[in-house]
Symmetry: C2
């Protein structure tokens, strides 16, 4: 599942357009960091990105990598796997269940739905591994937030 050259160019185009639209400077470092992430078929962490970028920009600091990644995140140009940073959250519900995740406050609520426990897996997934079960995340706005901050913008990191 390598990233296709065409796809890579698309992503880089979006990136430059995105920075410009936001009135943010297009620096050498930002370009290299984004390119590195955009061409990774897996999902590296900040340290891995930093290590790779250092091959070409030996003085880049891990700090800059973090700052850049969170900036791109705020601009909606990249995302994180799972809830970004914050401390690990625990769940005593061992029955199969699914989550409603609020995109504003990122609170997470359980619900059950037997149909979601074993969805029909598309054919292409066989190339990745042996599926055992499925889990669904419904993203939306929770009742609380709908009332409290009807138009909150993104960048709802931390907590």
């Amino acid at each position: 599942m390598k990233i296709l050259p065409q796809e890579l160019l698309d992503r880089i185009g979006c990136f430059e357009k995105g920075l410009q639209r936001a009135g943010v400077k297009i620096t050498h470092q930002r370009q290299e960091i984004f390119r590195e992430l955009a061409q990774s078929p897996d999902h590296p962490d900040a340290e891995m990105v930093c290590r790779s970028v250092r091959k070409r920009v030996p003085t880049i600091s891990l700090d800059t990598v973090y700052r850049t990644l969170w900036l791109l995140m705020d601009l909606g140009l990249i995302s994180t796997l799972g809830a970004s940073r914050a401390s690990t959250r625990f769940d005593a519900n061992t029955k199969p269940h699914h989550h409603f995740v609020c995109s504003r406050c990122s609170s997470t609520l359980d619900f059950s739905c037997p149909e979601f426990d074993h969805l029909d897996i598309p054919h292409g997934v066989k190339a990745l591994g042996y599926p055992e079960k499925t889990r669904v995340e419904v993203l939306g706005v929770c009742l609380q937030c709908k009332k409290t901050r009807p138009k909150a913008h993104n960048s709802e990191r931390r907590e």
Copy 2:
């Protein structure tokens, strides 16, 4: 979405049975920690659990909470939201897509599947908030791990 008393008793039953089966001592602290988590309708982190338990057991230490939670995790009595701890991983793919997650090495691979982007949301979810989109995680064993460690056991925390 409060936890029902019956459900709580079930969970506590599982907990005690689980510890006994594993030959692990049932201490006051472990009981209080589990009870606290089991009766939370949301998904607290270790610190929140610790704070709540301290109301009843003022000397409990945060480390004990962590150790207990990971122990219960290894015994399969609780789970974590998203990949437990480890560093944040980034994703430059902004198109809607889904993830295949390996339950052994927790590597995560992207795939797309338009049907999964907007699943039919069950009725009960309306009580939680306003859904916008859906995302599916397929859990299974990746090709790599199937070859390398055909029978790996759970507790595959860290990285």
